[in-house]
C-alpha cells in the first residue's frame, strides 16, 4: 500500500491517461514523485465508451507511475469530466433553534443539506457542493460562522452535478484494477486549484481547461467559485475538423496540428503551403497553411464563444475578473490560442500551468497537460486536513470543512 502521505491523482482523459504520484508535506507544499502516462483509448468527449480498453490504458499509466515514483499505488483521486456535468448556485437557509444562539458545526451540514434541496434531473448525482459565502442574520462577509451568535444561518453553495452512471463508469474502470477511488473531482475544478493562486482567486479569474475531448471552465471571484461547466468539445474535434476538411488521415492530423497549426489568421504568406511527406499508408499531400489555420480557428473560436455565452447567461460578470483568463490543458499549447481568447473575452489571457509550492521534475508541472492531474493532488491535500480516510467513495470531504480554506 502507498504510504500515508502519498497522493495519486488520476485523470482518464480523451487523449491520455495520466497518473501523478505526489508527496504532500505538512507545510502545504507538494513534491511530485512520478508521472505515469499512457495514450488513452476508449474515451470520447471525456467519457468512457469502452470500459475494457480504458481499463488497460489506466493500468499502463498507473504501472508507469509506480515505476517512476517507486510507490505502490493503492488508491487514487479521480477526475471526471464530460458535457453532462452542470452546475448552479443555490442558497441554503436554516433557523438556529431558540434554545441556543451559538452556531455550531452541525448547523453547517444542515445548511448545506438545505442548499441541496433542489431538483436536479433524475439520473444526476451531486458531485460537489462548494461553499461560496455565509450570511448570519443577513449579514454577509462571514468567513467562519462557528461560534458566532445569530438566529439564521444562510450559505451560498456552488453545486456541481452530473449523470450518475457516467461518473460511476470511471470509478468502475479503476476499481477493476483493484485500486480504490478516494474521491471523484470535476476535472476543471482540480485544474483551477493549481493554476490559480490565492491572490488570483480573490481578484477573480476564468480558468479554461482545454482538454482533448472536453473544454471545462471555472470562474472564481472573491475567492469563491462562481460558475463552472464543461462543453463536450475539445482537441479531438479540432483533429476531426482538420481530417475532414483537408482530407488527411486522423493519425497524421495530430502532428500537423501541433507542429504547423495556429489559431491566428492572416499571418501566413499568400499561398503558403505545408508539404506533408508521404509515409506508410499516406500518399503525401500539400495543404495550404491558411486553410489549416482557418479550420482550427473556427473551432476554437466557437468553443470560446460558447463558454462566453454560457457565462453571460449565468450572469457572471466577466469584466470584474481581475486576473483575467487562464488557459490550461493540452490544447492551450496551440499556437496563438491566447490571442484568440483575448479577442473573444476582452480580458488579459495567460497560458498557464501549475503554480505555487511545487517541487519535483519541472517537466511535469511546467506542462499545461498535467494541470488537472496535479490539481487532483492539490485538491486531496486541501480537503484531507484532519478527516481523511474514514470516508467512503462518494464521500463529500468538503462537507466536513466549513472553512474557506481551499475554495
Amino acid at each position: 500500500m502507498g504510504r500515508e502521505d502519498f497522493i495519486v491523482g488520476l485523470e482518464i482523459g480523451t487523449s491520455k491517461v495520466c497518473a501523478i504520484v505526489a508527496e504532500t508535506r505538512p507545510d502545504g507544499t507538494i513534491k511530485i514523485a512520478g508521472v505515469g502516462e499512457a495514450p488513452s483509448r476508449g474515451v470520447r468527449k471525456g467519457e468512457i465508451i469502452d470500459l475494457e480498453t480504458s481499463s488497460i490504458c489506466v493500468r499502463e499509466a498507473l504501472a508507469d507511475a509506480e515505476e517512476k515514483s517507486d510507490v505502490m499505488i493503492g488508491s487514487v483521486f479521480l477526475a471526471v469530466t464530460g458535457g453532462h456535468i452542470e452546475s448552479f448556485n443555490n442558497r441554503g437557509s436554516i433557523q438556529i433553534p431558540q434554545d441556543r444562539e451559538e452556531i455550531c458545526e452541525d448547523d453547517f451540514e444542515e445548511v448545506q443539506a438545505a442548499a441541496r434541496e433542489v431538483s436536479i434531473p433524475q439520473p444526476n448525482q451531486f458531485l460537489h457542493s462548494i461553499l461560496q459565502h455565509y450570511y448570519v442574520d443577513g449579514k454577509d462577509g462571514v468567513l467562519n460562522p462557528i461560534g458566532m451568535l445569530g438566529q439564521t444561518l444562510e450559505a451560498d453553495f456552488h453545486i456541481v452535478h452530473g449523470v450518475g452512471s457516467r461518473i460511476k463508469t470511471g470509478i468502475r474502470c479503476v476499481k477493476e484494477l483493484g485500486i480504490e477511488v478516494e474521491d471523484v473531482v470535476f476535472g476543471p475544478l482540480a485544474s483551477a486549484q493549481v493554476v490559480l493562486d490565492h491572490n488570483q482567486k480573490n481578484l477573480g479569474a476564468l480558468v479554461i481547461d482545454m482538454g482533448g475531448g472536453t473544454t471545462g471552465f471555472v470562474v472564481y471571484s472573491d475567492g469563491a467559485i462562481k460558475h463552472s461547466g464543461c462543453i463536450g468539445v475539445g482537441g479531438d474535434h479540432i483533429d476531426n475538423d482538420i481530417s475532414l476538411g483537408l482530407r488527411i488521415p486522423m493519425a497524421r492530423v495530430g502532428r500537423l496540428k501541433t507542429e504547423e497549426g495556429s489559431v491566428v489568421l492572416g499571418q501566413t504568406l499568400p499561398g503558403e503551403r505545408i508539404v506533408l511527406k508521404d509515409e506508410h499508408g499516406f500518399a503525401g499531400k500539400e495543404v495550404e497553411r491558411e486553410m489549416l489555420n482557418t479550420i482550427i480557428h473556427c473551432r476554437v473560436r466557437e468553443t470560446f464563444e460558447l463558454i462566453k455565452k454560457r457565462l453571460e447567461a449565468s450572469g457572471a460578470a466577466l469584466d470584474f475578473l481581475g486576473a483575467g483568463v487562464q488557459l490550461t490543458g493540452g490544447c492551450s499549447m496551440l499556437r496563438g490560442v491566447d490571442a484568440l481568447a483575448q479577442e473573444v473575452f476582452g480580458l488579459p489571457v495567460h497560458v498557464t500551468c501549475v503554480k505555487g509550492m511545487m517541487s519535483g521534475p519541472t517537466s511535469a508541472f511546467e506542462n499545461p497537460r498535467y494541470s488537472c492531474a496535479i490539481g487532483l493532488v492539490k485538491y486531496a491535500q486541501a480537503t484531507s486536513v484532519g478527516v481523511r480516510r474514514q470516508s467512503g467513495l462518494f464521500s463529500r470531504l468538503v462537507n466536513k470543512l466549513p472553512f474557506f480554506g481551499l475554495w
Binding site: 470520447r44 434531473p121 475538423d241 479550420i295
Partner: protein, 462 residues
C-alpha cells in the same frame, strides 16, 4: 336531457368523430395494429380490393372496392386499377366516411390500391366536409425504383387532396429493427410507428387534452414543402419516466437521434400520462427537449391524461423535415437525373408479385403521370408539392375540389415532366461527423457541435 361533458369541447363545438381508414395491404396492417392496441373513440374502416386480405382484417368495418374491376382480387400493384376500383366503389366509400369530422387515411404508397385509391378516397372524404389527414409509407428501396416512382407520384397527388400528409419512409423505419430480424419485423415496426402516431394525433385532437392542440396548429407544425415526417415516440414508466420516455422518443429511427430536430421550424410535442403525471415531470421533459431544438423553433405543446397509460408516460414528437434537410437525410430519394422516363402503356405487363406482405405487390408497372389539373399555369415554375392545408372546410371548397381537384391516373397524352420539376435538391457535401459519427451528439443551442465548425460557419476550405 342535456349532458354537459367538460371534455367534449373542441374547435368545432361538437365532439370530433374520427374515422380511420386503412387502405390496401399496408394500410390494413397498420389499422390492425391500431385495433389490437386499442383506440377509443374512433371508427376503424378497412378498405381493400383484395377480398381475401380484407377478410383477414380485424377492423370492425370492412369495405371491399372494385368488385367489378378486380373481382375480389388485388390490383397487381397497378395504381390504375386501384384508382378504377375506388371509382367503382365510390358509393361504399362515401357511405363509410360519411359523418366523420376527421378522416385519417393510412396507406402504403407504391403498390396498387394504396397509390391508386388514396387520392380519390381523400377527395371523397373532403366532399363530406371532413378534415383529411393521410399517413402514408414510402416503399423500401429494395422494392425497386419503379415502385418508388409510383409512390412519389401518388404522394404528390395525395398532398393536393388531403389537408395534411405525414409521410414515413420505410427505409428509415427498417433501421429500427436489427438487420437479422425477419422482414415481418421490419414491416411490423413500420405499422407500429404509424399506429402510434395516429393514436397521438387522435389523442391530441380529441377532447382529452389538458392543453389542447387544435387542427390549425397541427397543420402548422407539419406544413412544409416536404411532407416527410420526423416522428418520435417514447413510452416509459418508473421513477425516471420523463427522461426515459424522451430518450426513447429521440432514439426513434425517424429522428436520427434528435439531430433532425435541430433543423425543424415547428415541433409538435404531445405528452400523455396516467393520472399520476406531475407538472415537474412535464417541466423536466420540456427542458430536456429544449436542448435539442433551436432557439427559434416553435414548440406546439399539448398534454393529456390517458387513464389507459396507468403509470406510464408517453411522449410524441412530430415535425416535418425542413426543406433543406431533406436531401441529406433522405438518400434513397436522391435519384440520378437520368432516371428513365416512364412509358405510358396503361394495361402493360403485370408482373407476378414477390410481395413481402400480402397486398404489397411489386413493380414493373407503367408509371402513371399524375398531373394535378389545378396546376397553376402551364409555364409556371415548380408547383409546390403540396398546397396550403385548409383547416376550415367550407362547403364551397368541397364542391370546388370535386370540379377541379379530381385526381386522375388516366394518362392524358401529355407526359408533362412533372417528375423533372420535382427533382430534389442535393447539398453539395453531406453533413459529416467523422470520428464522432457513432457517438452521442453534442448539441448546444440546436447546433450539432460534432459537425466541423468551419462547415457550420460556411467557410470554404479547399
Amino acid at each position: 336531457m342535456i349532458e354537459i361533458n367538460r371534455q367534449s369541447s373542441n374547435s368545432m363545438g361538437i365532439e370530433l368523430r374520427i374515422k380511420i381508414i386503412g387502405l390496401g395491404g399496408a394500410g390494413q396492417n397498420a389499422l390492425d395494429r391500431l385495433q389490437l392496441d386499442g383506440l377509443d373513440g374512433a371508427e376503424l374502416i378497412a378498405i381493400n380490393t383484395d377480398a381475401q386480405a380484407l377478410a383477414g382484417s380485424v377492423a370492425p368495418i370492412k369495405v371491399q372496392i372494385g368488385r367489378h374491376t378486380t373481382r375480389g382480387l388485388g390490383t397487381g400493384g397497378d395504381p390504375e386499377i386501384g384508382y378504377a376500383a375506388a371509382e367503382d366503389g365510390a358509393e361504399e366509400i362515401r357511405s363509410a366516411v360519411e359523418g366523420g369530422g376527421l378522416v385519417v387515411l393510412c396507406a402504403g404508397l407504391g403498390g396498387g390500391t394504396g397509390s391508386g385509391a388514396a387520392p380519390l378516397i381523400a377527395n371523397f372524404a373532403r366532399q363530406q366536409h371532413a378534415l383529411v389527414v393521410a399517413f402514408v409509407t414510402m416503399p423500401f428501396t429494395f422494392e425497386g425504383r419503379r415502385r418508388l416512382a409510383q409512390a412519389e407520384e401518388a404522394l404528390a397527388s395525395l398532398t393536393q387532396q388531403a389537408d395534411l400528409v405525414v409521410c414515413f419512409e420505410n427505409d428509415k423505419m427498417g433501421d429500427s429493427v436489427s438487420p437479422r430480424a425477419g422482414i415481418h419485423e421490419a414491416f411490423a415496426a413500420a405499422d407500429q410507428m404509424i399506429s402510434q402516431s395516429i393514436r397521438a394525433i387522435a389523442a391530441m385532437l380529441q377532447r382529452r387534452g389538458l392543453i389542447r392542440v387544435g387542427f390549425d396548429e397541427l397543420t402548422a407544425a407539419l406544413r412544409s414543402a416536404n411532407p416527410r415526417a420526423i416522428f418520435g415516440y417514447g413510452e416509459a414508466d418508473g421513477d425516471n419516466r420523463a427522461h426515459a420516455a424522451l430518450e426513447k422518443a429521440l432514439r426513434s429511427p425517424l429522428m436520427d437521434r434528435g439531430r433532425l430536430l435541430a433543423d425543424a421550424e415547428n415541433v409538435l410535442v404531445h405528452i400523455a400520462g396516467g393520472p399520476s403525471m406531475t407538472l415537474g415531470e412535464v417541466t423536466l421533459l420540456m427542458e430536456e427537449l429544449n436542448r435539442h431544438i433551436h432557439d427559434t423553433t416553435r414548440l406546439l405543446f399539448s398534454t393529456s391524461i390517458d387513464p389507459q397509460l396507468d403509470r406510464k408516460l408517453s411522449v410524441t414528437l412530430l415535425s416535418s423535415l425542413a426543406a433543406g434537410a431533406s436531401a441529406a437525410s433522405a438518400p434513397p430519394f436522391l435519384r440520378p437525373a437520368t432516371i428513365p422516363e416512364p412509358h405510358y402503356e396503361p394495361e402493360a405487363d403485370v408482373a407476378p408479385a414477390p410481395a413481402p406482405v400480402s397486398a404489397r405487390s411489386t413493380d414493373a408497372m407503367p408509371v402513371p403521370a399524375v398531373i394535378p389539373i389545378i396546376s397553376p399555369e402551364p409555364a409556371a415554375p415548380v408547383p409546390p408539392p403540396r398546397p396550403e392545408p385548409r383547416p376550415e372546410i367550407a362547403a364551397s371548397a368541397a364542391t370546388e375540389s370535386v370540379a377541379a381537384g379530381k385526381p386522375s391516373f388516366k394518362p392524358n397524352g401529355k407526359p408533362k415532366t412533372a417528375r423533372e420539376e420535382r427533382q430534389e435538391q442535393m447539398t453539395f457535401e453531406p453533413v459529416t461527423r467523422g470520428r464522432f459519427e457513432k457517438s452521442e451528439p453534442t448539441i448546444i443551442d440546436g447546433q450539432d457541435l460534432d459537425v466541423p465548425a468551419f462547415m457550420r460557419m460556411n467557410v470554404k476550405v479547399k
